[in-house]
Subunit: 446 residues, 4 copies
């Protein structure tokens, strides 16, 4: 196998001092991961293992990576989004901890995939993914579907021998996946019978999606919108596309900020829940006419498209907080706009449609990462505690698992919640013997 001769590719090593301070700042708010890291340092559960992570390169991810390293792992890290890398964090991880980081904020599509290639060239036993770009690239290589690969990966894949390609995928014990979008993709792979190793859907842990997707995305999406625009949310009409965990997080926080919230949905059950939660629900073609701000969090493509752009008011603001930048159809917008967009503020591009201005934030990418700092450390604490424990679990049990998408074992989930409460000094009740017995009996009635 061709050896990757460079061991990092980052913006500027001189940013490391600033990165160090910021990583330490996040660490303050990650007590659960800290506890796991302390145990890992003693027990070395990942000793000698190569691990490649494709994650948003943020201060929280840095703490995860350092936890994994404390557990004995040799970690390579690439970005899961071209715009979300915090270059100072990357510099710090390289300079002070020797992590193999391949990630530059604003990298183009080719560099993005060349960094994925570098992470694969690390020949990992465990992969960590956020959106499944790493794992799907690996499978394209294994399946020899070279035409579906992006250029830098394709070239490298073709340079490998068939044996090397086989070894690459066979040496992976298992993977973890961080986000809904990735889980959807991986389930599709499992359904199509092509998945080559077990995946732990960290996203499906209660301590992940109930907190990260809801409280994390809820807060940080508004944060991104405010940093990009400084608009007043109170009294504004905010349209939220999607009422999954992320969507209800954003809707709840938007209401909490005084916005008049409209939800759009495709599933009757979720739509009904939104109504009962007190939100207006309507099709996007109606919402498009009256919304001041639009946020997509569906996990699907072209949720806001030409037919909607044409209906929008002058000054409408459009942002995405779903994983991929496909939810807002920017190609259609560009084609109906008179000309190229004008940059009017950092992260704000102005399009003109029929004389009306439409403002797109962060190029339609995750607005919380593009224009703000992503999820607060306190939620990532739990998500990444799941990642760390899932990696340990894969080492211990990965070889026994089916080639399918699995949930994190429930006892890990409860343990993470317990540690979090403990770190907040919050006590709860415990069942009495009588109560435990009552719950398991069926004889006692009215």
């Amino acid at each position: 196998m061709s050896i990757n001769s460079v061991d990092h590719d980052i913006r500027d090593i001189k940013l490391a001092d600033r990165g160090k301070l910021r990583v330490e700042w996040a660490e303050r708010a990650m007590p659960v991961l800290r506890r796991i890291g302390e145990r890992f340092a003693k027990e070395q559960p990942l000793k000698g293992l190569r691990l490649s992570a494709c994650l948003h390169v943020t201060t929280e991810t840095a703490n995860l990576v350092l936890t994994l390293k404390a557990g004995g792992a040799d970690v390579a890290l690439c970005a899961s989004n071209p715009l979300s890398t915090q270059d100072d964090v990357a510099a710090y991880l390289v300079r002070d901890h020797g992590i193999k980081v391949f990630s530059i904020c604003g990298e183009d599509h080719d560099v993005y995939y060349d960094h994925i290639r570098a992470a694969l060239a690390h020949r990992p036993s465990i992969t960590m993914d956020d959106g499944a770009d790493l794992v799907s690239s690996l499978h394209m290589i294994a399946l020899q579907r070279f035409d579906d690969l992006t250029e830098p990966v394709r070239r490298w894949a073709e340079s490998l021998s068939q044996n090397e390609r086989r070894e690459l995928v066979e040496s992976v014990i298992g993977s973890t996946e961080e986000t809904t979008t990735g889980v959807i993709r991986l389930r599709a792979m499992a359904r199509d019978g092509v998945l080559q190793f077990p995946v732990i859907a960290v996203n499906d842990s209660l301590t992940k999606y109930m907190f990260d997707n809801r409280y994390g995305t809820g807060q940080s999406t508004l944060d991104g919108i405010l940093r990009a625009t400084n608009i007043l949310l109170a009294g504004s009409r905010m349209v939220i596309a999607g009422y999954g965990w992320c969507g209800r997080g954003v809707a709840s926080r938007a209401r909490g900020a005084g916005a008049r919230v409209i939800v759009t949905e495709v599933e009757p059950l979720k739509a009904l829940e939104a109504v009962m939660d007190g939100f207006e629900v309507m099709p996007m073609t109606e919402a498009a006419k009256i919304g001041d701000v639009f946020v997509t969090v569906t996990g699907d493509t072209s949720v806001i498209r030409e037919e909607h752009f044409r209906l929008m008011k002058d000054g409408a603001i459009v942002a995405n907080s779903g994983h991929f930048n496909v939810e807002i159809d920017l190609d259609q917008l560009a084609s109906i706009a008179g000309g190229p967009p004008r940059a009017v503020r950092d992260f704000v591009a102005e399009y003109r449609v029929n004389g009306r201005r439409i403002f797109v934030l962060g190029e339609g990418r995750l607005v919380n990462l593009a224009a703000a700092e992503g999820h607060p450390a306190a939620v990532m604490d739990m998500s990444f505690a799941n990642q760390a424990l899932a990696a340990e679990y894969l080492v211990q049990h990965g070889r026994e698992l089916d080639r399918a998408v699995h949930r994190t074992p429930e006892h890990l989930d409860q343990e993470i919640a317990r540690l979090k409460l403990e770190s907040m000094s919050i006590g709860i009740d415990t069942l009495t013997d009588e109560q435990r017995k009552y719950l398991s009996s069926w004889e006692l009635g009215t």
Copy 2:
């Protein structure tokens, strides 16, 4: 089998006029059930079937019963709680529709079980239960565990031949179960290997528990407390024991009414969610000292007990909104109180502990049914649409199902949500072909 010679046992047939008006009032708000009833009238899916329902005898239940009758069923109805029967509704069902109702508000324990006996003596092919008293009694009979039966049922069971007893249980195709408590009991029965027929856990339908348990219990619990006490909720400290779907419904509504809400829990995950939702969380021994109003919605026993009563402030109000009246340990309260409680308002009993007054509402039974009218018809519309469709499903597929607790098939759930939205004139989006394809593919990445 001994034939039940009377075909109803109710308070007073002369209440029927009032019951009629009230049942019609509820019908207004039950458009989904109405639509199902119209189809049932044509298709007669329950034709000739004997069905015994053990449910709260309310205006909404009346509409369910009439829907089942429209579908061809011969229905017997008994109460699932001695205090929750609306006597005028019972009268109306008997007088105008010939339903076999056995239920009187305030009936004692013996009469309560004698009415269950009458429902069993109807020899049902389908049972509908709410708390599992009917089904567990039936199983005690089948298992010949006569000592575990309440007196009136025991006597009757012993009067039957072994053959009759076997036939009684064997003729049941399946049952539905309405509430969390019942589902917990039935799962315990399945786990112990004693369950004799399949059960559809209507409670586990999304259109049931997400709406009924949350919005229904949330609103009606406060409603019951207000009718019983007329206290000001704004600024009061309300302690909610349990943060399941019911608990979060009550907590959300209590906050919406201006209360300062404290949640107690035994599960770390739920406790953590409550904290992140902005509620205070603490053990009951701490909450007991500062709460103005306590509500139990745990599904467990003795959640508020001697050690807590002793800590309460003068004037503390204690209510239960869980299914059974076991969550508040009234025996312990009575034993530490100086004497018997004093009735100070309808549904309010005053106990004195160490010179301090503790007020218990509705004798610790479901406060929304004891002191108010139970869930609004609009939520019961969906719960009972599930019941009606589950009954039809059991007729069609019951013989193929395992002797286990099953969920309502998902397509029924989605259909109910769709009908509900339609009745509210709320439109939603539909997936485009491109979107549908995107969701099922895994090849498209960043």
Copy 3:
């Protein structure tokens, strides 16, 4: 002056036992009034004074009346609304405390005004009013505008000599007024130069309107609607006419109950505030088409009228929570409806307009008093503490005050708030000397 030979007119003295329990129940939640009553009992500030109160005859009013009596007053009490009297409370006040109560729930217009006549015939030195019916009647008599008087009062007024009439008004030191509507009327009287004595607008105390109008009306209006209808508020569209203190209370609680709230207003500032608070704002002609429930709290007349009724959906529910039953134009509704309304539930009248059903609650009178129990005692505690202290203040300073509408002195307001916090065991900060000095200086800048 003709002497009123009977000293009470109530429904049934035998209801007194029940009234006693209920008045005691309210007393629990009125610690501020209790403290004032204890001082009054010692100091006797109202000794020998005749006082006529025209108030809603509720359990809370009973505690006010007993406080006034403890202070030495000889109290007559009539109702300020024909439907709001709690007959058991009236009975208790008469039987156990010798209060001269003239008030029967459901009394007709003539009896209502005959009771006002009886309260005037008590020849009060202090009047307490709630809506200004008592005071305006008294002024009509003094001004000899007999044609503007309702029959029973007119006949009595004509039977008095001119001297007696003059003495009647001249013996009044001053009055208090409880509600916004009354204050508006009294200000109009002052502006027209006809007001004969000073009035303390208890309604304008911060400890009154910020709490009673907002938290009291907010909660009890929903309570009244729920008791009358048992509808589900979550997901319903509730239209609130008026965004004054009452309106914002109702709107806030409606949202807290999950309703989708629409506000209508006539003042731009209040409308804008409603928008910024996250509510939809639109003209009533638009709201009428989409509302499920309508509540008027404007203090104005014909807020919902023919043009609106004609637009409403089948099943619309219409209620009033403003002081007078003029906000919903029932005459217009009756005239466009096919026939007389049908009583379908207690407090619910069904009208048919163009084949669509419109349900009016409590005959358009204050829904919280008609269908529920009015404001909780805990808010009335502060309102009535204001009444008691205002009466004392009038005795001490009334002769010095202009014939105008005055606010309660601010120090009384702060004192009431302080006592309330104390009763809730809530501590607050006190200014340091440095802080006090800072606040009064202007020299210290950036």
Copy 4:
């Protein structure tokens, strides 16, 4: 009078391009000011007038300044806070519009006051102030209280002849004041009998304080905290000192973000309102022990001081959103901390007290301006519409007004609200003739 030979003092003229874009961005959200500016351009109400404004130099202020200029004024602008200047905005105003701007972000105390001196040297007929530093300096000069002046102003004042000093103050027709703190200072000046000209308290306009103080401060305070720290608000304990309009704005938004909010107050009425709004209320000495984040919005000094710092948990975050940086006693904190603070993030200083870390944001200055962009343009639209109309009003009526603090005339207030609603396409109701008559009559009763 000594002539100021330079006509601006700013960071860097080359920032003007960026400033231009940002000022235009704010303009989008200021439709009311735009409408006023269009009229001003035609009517020239400020023609030939010199106007000196001491305001936060932000994008919104730029739009106000341009409106005043459109009305004919010759405007000088200095900062009202050393840290709040947006240097690119200052550059744009100088380069493209010839405004005399004296303001540099991060200027020290001496430069800050030298800039105030420059604004005074402009010899204004109208002053606009935000915190009253400009007006109080002017009065110190007029009163010859040179020792109370800051150095650069003192030197200049002494260089003027007595005549020049008298002319300086006599040429001022009147001033406007933007903020609560300034109004408190100016009222103190009026009370002490030293105020030399009338002041319009723009802060007291309903369209100002109800929106700017509440919705503006509410949102932007959280925005500043998040940009500085990226902490998770959900589940955190946030302590808000002060429950005035600003405080309730922050408290409401903090709850809307999922925080567990504690309010501290010194006034019983406000404390009680906070409790009834569902917040915890306690003295700061108790709150200090349990808070995660502290925000002061009291307008008073040393609200958080040594006794509180000593009680705080490790990691406590302390921010101020009141006008002056006196609310957090940083001198005391520095003296009890082991050494100088460590900069751990932009706008975050770490102090160590007893081994515990306390993080102070933005040096205790207005966190929304220090760490974020201040109030959104949409609220400043109304505040600054008040400023523009108040300036016009002073030109027309200033000479007739007392030397006191006046409110903006109510009709201007209503007009601004009307224009704002119009710009949002929101319609409201208008009173019918019958309704108008009803409101002014007192004869119509029950």
